[in-house]
């Protein structure tokens, strides 16, 4: 009897757990669909017109040139993680530093250890860096910022959640500044694609409470979709952080689509998260789903060419690196280093009709090197 009780207790605990989450189930499924519904509920050509400017490679805005060319032989230190994005940023920073005849040093840190970022920045100051660019996290670097401020070393933060963080000389490509533009473009692209296909868009958007940077992008996309299409639906797919890094995003997406079988689009805030998702969907026989997202990998560029995806927003990593050097150069020549703090990133939505090389992620805007050489009065 004791053993029976053990089994029943275990089963009971699980059933209580099931009961407690049952209330979390969504019941807001919208079974809309069909060409008629689409034409009646979306704003048709207005969406295409709004989307059109983002389908061509963007151009750079006009910025004031520096008062004088920055001093040569200065030392630029870059504190970043070991990701592929950090490697691209590092290469572009080195390139920009070279254009100014500056010396360049990269310090790679474990981004999961905030103490390591502070320590690396302190090391850079102690090693005589004249400029520091950091993309490895801005949360726990107060100590290093104080030391850098005293040593009059400009510190430029890349990819912070928000611009204007205290202590930094400048902030480049803060997520919140551009989130609305990115979300809007992806939302419009989905609506445009749905309109062409004569469908109502039902979108699942990958988010994770562990990565709050995704939230404003998803919120902007949802707002765009709901503003332009009354019958369309857009819901977040809250994904465990562990699934994001282990290629298991697909299992959450499949479950979401099982719950909301009308889903025909899935949005990713970062391209590499879609690894394994297409396979999982195909395995489950859910082949009606198209992807949309940002920061494509070469795998997505190929999928896009094959017509499986709606589009991917190319990410201007190289431009961001040049903007960081530009902000530092302005700080050193008496200009306004915060000139780029509130600038929205240039947006280019790659579609199957765009001209790009599938084997490399595209750089944008194409003429940024020459543009900055002119501003910096070099070359």
């Amino acid at each position: 009897m004791k053993r029976v009780r053990e089994v029943m207790v275990t089963g009971g605990c699980l059933l209580v757990a099931l009961g407690s989450v049952a209330g979390c189930g969504s019941s807001d499924d919208d079974a809309g669909g069909g060409a008629q519904a689409a034409s009646q509920t979306t704003k048709g050509d207005a969406i295409d017109n709004e989307l059109k400017p983002f389908l061509a490679p963007p151009k750079l805005p006009e910025w004031p040139a520096l008062a004088t060319a920055p001093e040569k032989a200065l030392k630029l230190a870059y504190v970043g993680g070991g990701s592929g994005t950090a490697a691209v940023t590092s290469d572009a920073l080195k390139d920009a530093a070279g254009a100014l005849s500056w010396k360049y040093q990269r310090l790679t840190v474990d981004t999961s250890d905030p103490g390591a970022v502070d320590s690396a920045m302190l090391s850079a100051v102690n090693a005589g860096a004249d400029v520091i660019v950091n993309s490895a996290g801005a949360e726990s670097v107060k100590n290093a910022l104080n030391v850098a401020t005293k040593a009059k070393v400009p510190v430029v933060q890349l990819y912070a959640p928000d611009a204007g963080l205290p202590g930094f000389t400048a902030s480049i490509a803060a997520t919140k500044v551009s989130a609305e533009a990115w979300g809007k473009v992806m939302g419009l692209a989905v609506l445009s694609d749905a309109k062409r296909a004569g469908k109502t868009a039902h979108v699942g958007l990958i988010t994770s409470s562990a990565l709050p940077n995704f939230e404003p992008i998803a919120d902007a996309a949802i707002a765009t979709i709901k503003r332009n299409c009354a019958k369309c639906t857009a819901d977040k797919i809250d994904t465990p952080a562990a699934d994001l890094t282990t290629g298991q995003v697909g299992r959450g997406v499949v479950s979401f689509i099982q719950r909301k079988p009308q889903t025909n689009y899935v949005q990713f805030s970062v391209g590499f998260l879609s690894g394994g998702v297409r396979t999982a969907l195909d395995g489950a026989g859910l082949k009606q789903v198209k992807f949309i997202g940002m920061v494509p990998t070469t795998a997505q560029l190929k999928e896009l060419r094959d017509g499986k995806d709606v589009g991917w927003v190319a990410y201007p990593n190289q431009l961001d690196a040049y903007l960081a050097v530009d902000a530092a150069a302005r700080a050193l020549t008496g200009g306004d280093p915060k000139i780029h703090n509130q600038e929205v990133e240039p947006v280019w939505l790659l579609t199957d009709k765009s001209e790009y090389d599938e084997k490399v992620t595209p750089e944008l805007p194409v003429d940024y090197r020459a543009h900055f050489s002119k501003l910096w009065k070099v070359g």
Binding site: G25, T245, T279
Partner: protein, 333 residues
């Protein structure tokens, strides 16, 4: 009287057998099967239209396959009293190396797979040397190997996502289905499980492993070559890990240095949970039961729209309950 005696003779054994069967069926060892049945019934009642479908069944198996293979990679050394914490990192190394070789070279896929398995085995060999020759504690040695494998993986990946194209035949290993229902990776779990079950439970080799795990000194005194057993299990674990990496590479289609290490805790959870099922020690079929329970629970919760954190909470809670019951049972014996 005579007939009464016969009736009595027949009935008593039947009653005893009946009670024995009932006792066995409700014993702690089989609690997992009842829990699994309760979960299926519970989720079915709450949302049967969505939960009780072939898609659910297929995705549970597909999602749990990699965890299952890695759990077996841990199981083999574990039964011989050796810890191997490097299995997930070696799988990650295998995944990234095979993908990199596919993208950067024109080697045939079979050659790539063979090279990668050999490279993975090198980690097992290194572990074996550390544990058996230099007498390093297996926990410490495998932690070191884990870090070395992780570093090698990061060096090859260089922070990038590698997107290999192995071709249809090789991709079938990670993405194929048997009879349109059974994911090939889970079929690999069942095949490997059956093989390991036979070796561990029905061969002299398996008994030597269990004996070494039970009491190393006694085994040595009984004439078992403990060092050979330990080297063998570490080599086997690295080969299973390498194979798991190949399954991952062909399953996901994009290799990164962060993908495989995240499977270590789920694999350990499945193994330890499985150790409370069917037998009172880590075992193959208990591990598979644990995989199904954990997979069904997570899938059911996802289908009910539970928040992301509930999945981790569920897996941890189930493991704690199972292990607590197991220890409770053991303390009463």
């Amino acid at each position: 009287m005579g007939s009464q005696a016969v009736w009595s003779d027949v009935q008593e054994p039947v009653g005893t057998v009946g009670r024995s069967v009932a006792r066995a069926a409700f014993s702690r060892r089989y609690a997992g099967l009842w829990v699994l049945a309760a979960m299926v019934a519970g989720f079915g009642l709450l949302d049967g239209e969505v939960f009780l479908t072939t898609v659910t069944f297929k995705t549970i198996l597909a999602d749990q396959a990699v965890t299952g293979l890695l759990a077996f990679a841990i199981l083999v050394p574990y039964v011989a009293g050796v810890f191997d914490l490097s299995v997930a990192s070696v799988a990650g190394f295998s995944m990234v190396l095979s993908s990199w070789l596919c993208v950067e070279t024109s080697l045939p896929v079979l050659v790539i797979f063979a090279l990668v398995l050999l490279a993975s085995a090198a980690f097992g060999l290194l572990s074996a040397v550390l544990v058996t020759r230099i007498q390093v504690n297996s926990l410490v040695a495998s932690l070191g190997i884990n870090t070395v494998a992780l570093g090698a993986t990061q060096y090859i990946a260089a922070g990038n996502s590698i997107a290999p194209e192995f071709g249809d035949a090789a991709t079938w290993l990670g993405q194929g289905y048997l009879f349109d229902v059974l994911p090939v990776p889970f079929a690999c779990v069942l095949l490997l499980g059956a093989f390991l079950y036979y070796i561990l439970e029905h061969t002299a080799c398996g008994r030597r492993l269990l004996a070494t795990g039970g009491n190393e000194t006694a085994s040595r005194l009984a004439g078992i070559s403990v060092t050979r057993v330990q080297a063998g299990v570490l080599l086997t674990a690295s080969l299973i890990s390498g194979f798991t990496g190949l399954v991952l590479a062909t399953k996901i289609g994009v290799a990164t240095d962060t993908t495989a290490p995240g499977y270590l805790f789920p694999a350990f959870a499945a193994l330890l949970f499985g150790a409370t099922q069917l037998k009172d020690r880590p075992n193959v079929w208990g591990t598979i039961v644990a995989l199904l329970i954990l997979g069904t629970g997570v899938k059911g919760l996802q289908l009910l729209g539970a928040s992301a954190w509930v999945n981790d909470f569920f897996a941890g809670t189930v493991l704690l309950i199972a292990v607590s019951i197991s220890y409770g049972g053991a303390s009463h014996r």
